[in-house]
Assembly symmetry: C5
């Protein structure tokens, strides 16, 4: 058997997509809409501050999604799966939930791997900079006021091109080339990488953040030419949205 | 024709997934919700004790599922398919069912095969330890208080890589390597393997149990590099959840 | 062009799957449920006796299906497509139909082919035994009191392995090996084979019958290793159920 | 680039599939059902006579479809896309439409190509027989009182077998062999071939007509062994139905 | 890594598809229908003039779509993603929205690439003609009174034929051949090309415009034989429709 990369894991992650029932919203009396928006705002604000989490560990954010696939993407990062499950069910208790359905979702856990962080896994003492870098990957903050793109991803196991039968070195080299492409976007693009293997239908969930959405298109397009992606990446779909603060929820819902 | 592995079968297995109609739940009067939860709790408790089964053979358990694909996964193991059918229909008679739909399900039968249990199939007398091991596979208990992952699985019949045209020895060797990976997780991971060939849309249903959900991710990821999986495994989707005792149903439903 | 097998056809076949609206059933007054069950029972009984068919030709049966894909599978065999269409629409006229939806269905015609019945197609006089054998394939009875498995099937036209470009002899030899596997299950398994090419989305519909559902799993599993199947069979899904007499309909619906 | 076949086009074609809401139909008062059937009958009769079309160009027909995928298939042939759009919307204005949904549809335009009608494209004067033959392909009549089968079709662009990279002569030769198979069914099978490339999700829509539905199965099965089909044909699904005159609509709806 | 083409981007683009709830429309009182149509007309007119956009940058148009996949396609081009999101939500505020659902949509951004516009990317001063050509691609007008075809498109990453592993020159040469085919349709076909990589489920969205819909079929068919398409193009589906001015909305809805 080929060598399996070492991994370390951090917070569990739920991408909770919601569609607005616009007919119900349009027809609801103003008082009901305001009550729903207030309940949604309070839910979002308290989850952004992780008030639901012991020691306040974790973070959440809400994004408006363009197109028919969803209207809202609520992202939760928490130290346990139970807190994600609770966050999902607590949303259903709000007066806002009555105006929403849940067309899709994604469950994952933040991950660093031995491909790209080999020093970290060598067992030696690591320096503070690396420690903080890893911590930022495993317990990430969600960047403010930015566009976000979410997509699930798997590595191909085709009859000829099969990621999982390649020698470790070959995989590590491709991941390193992939990382080099990514570094050209430092400052323009932030990302959260989380593994969903055993948790959801694909292998990873990737969330990209940028001030300029064209940068998101650029990095995904450029990386498509990386061998790690061109030969081995599978991408069932993409979601594009924009973060907004909970207090803008009513304005968003009113168009 | 290549050699077919011998198999032995035990209990039939139904994974019955349910989605909660949260709008109906939120809007129902408290009395109705309590009656529904009580009916659900009684259904679950009586099925966990297999009160529906002659001689009390079989077992059941309920899990909360994270994400949009389901809210509850009720697992039934019973000596006959009829008892599964009855369990499924009895659920529909409860006051809880009014708050649920059934987005998916899976029908299978527990199985041991000659790949991994060859002594058992040689026809000689088997010792008590092996007998108990096999019995534990065919009439399994469901581990308490743990996370669970369910996924269907088929063996690839690709144009080049085709599990079903390989010589028995090659398949047995790969299954043995696969088993060796699994043994590294002894104590961390329990599993129930059941065949669904002729019963449902894929070939097997696998249910994994662990105290730590990261162990589930770890074993599924590590096994993906086993040749039996990397070249021959097909996995249409994964469900992750957490077992809860029937008496916690109302608390679960209330968030 | 490679040689096309000769075929002969018999009765048309409709697998009409129905889902019960359990919420409506649960909430309906007892009188309405009884009226619906009586109407369903009469529909099923009269169709089992082919009272709808000129000369009484044909047969029908009803099966309970386990899992979310359907609750009932009503199988009709009739000498014309029009009688199938009429049977489908007559069901919609019953008071039971109000409690059902039709999630799927399958249209086919019973078929024997020159692969396996070459004597029959040689144009010579055939003996009475063969005549009865063929008649039993083309105008089959539905076995009593048994489990049934239905699945559609197509022959692969892959880039490398393509059933339809193989010489006739090679196909006939594989079909013969396939038949030999089947003969080992004589007494345990009955089957109805019907072609759906030009009628529905796959090429054949197969219905297996057995007293012991494990035999169904066994034969489908064992045949998967036959070259005709391992290299050339495609199986989009399986349904497993159990026949019941029309007079048990109310008991079935009541759990 | 390989040579592209010349084509000529005639009438635009809409296959408009409708499902009956049988619950609504069953529960509607008789007067409402009769009004709906009368409105449907008038719509169908006036469209069969192309009363909606300038100069009365075009034709329509209605078929009952067996199985869950649809109940009615209304086929319209018209000289412009706008007339198809209008026919689709005019149906929605009828009292019958309230009892229907539109599960699927297909948009195409009748086509002859240089593969099979090379004389026609050579630019020389063509004789009257050929002119009438082509006219019959481009502005076809719909055969009376017959069974019909509709299916979309595309030519494979696989990694190895790619229709669109073959030399023209090779494609023409295969199409000619395909045509020879078809000619054996002259008198038994009629067909309308229409291109949907750029108009709908597959490349062509094929509608076959026969007095005996087994002939439809036979020709589709036999052609599957033609190289043009075995290596290059892709068929996402088939619909089988039977034409009825508009005045039989109420009888059809009443079972 | 192979060379990545340079790109420049212009306006963001939303294809917003809507289905009419014809039952609701048919049953609504005339006054309500007129109010809805008026609201829809005002929405469409104000968006066609980009009254929602700072400096009036952008444009919109509405098309009637034939078949079950949609009834209306509203196309918006705007300088920011936020304006698209706002346009989508503003539609939901209209009285027309109550009669519609949103079956699908597509998010993209207009793009020119170094494959076909290499002079533009060389960094030298460009002449006014080229500048205007590029501007017309990035901030396009929507042609009047014409048929339109929309389709998403991706480049194949197959095991053998993989666009993203080809050398730049090979890709550029194929794109040039592709462009040469397109030029033969100058005057007959206009197009808007927009990238959706990272924004939606496929890589590009193509919108074609023509006075004669057969020209749309012709160009898509002819291009299918271009190597860039025959080996490397993937096309999940096509939509065909016809532009109409907002003031015709009520007439359209009334059949």
């Amino acid at each position: 058997m080929v060598e399996v990369p070492q991994t370390d894991e951090g917070w569990y992650m739920l991408h909770d997509f919601r569609q607005i029932d616009w007919d119900a919203w349009r027809n609801a009396p103003e008082q009901k809409r305001e009550r729903a928006a207030r309940a949604g705002r309070e839910y979002l604000a308290s989850h952004e501050s992780a008030a639901d989490s012991p020691d306040g560990e974790g973070t959440s954010a809400v994004f408006s999604i363009i197109g028919h696939k969803a209207d809202l993407m609520i992202v939760h990062l928490r130290p346990t799966l139970d807190l994600l499950s609770k966050a999902e069910r607590q949303f259903e208790r709000t007066a806002l939930a009555e105006f929403t359905t849940q067309p899709t979702s994604y469950v994952s856990v933040t991950e660093v791997s031995g491909y790209v962080s080999d020093d970290y896994f060598k067992g030696d003492e690591i320096n503070e900079g690396l420690r903080q870098y890893i911590e930022g990957k495993l317990k990430p903050e969600i960047p403010d006021d930015e566009y976000a793109c979410f997509y699930p991803m798997s590595k191909r196991r085709g009859e000829e091109h099969n990621w999982y039968t390649l020698p470790f070195e070959e995989r590590a080299e491709m991941m390193s080339g992939h990382g080099a492409t990514g570094k050209q976007y430092a400052g323009d693009i932030d990302q959260i990488i989380a593994s969903s293997i055993g948790f959801d239908d694909h292998e990873w969930g990737v969330t990209l953040f940028a001030e300029d959405p064209v940068k998101i298109k650029d990095i995904v397009y450029e990386m498509r030419f990386d061998e790690a992606t061109s030969k081995y990446g599978e991408f069932p779909g993409f979601y594009i949205g924009r973060r907004f603060p909970p207090e803008d929820l009513l304005a968003y819902l009113n168009g």
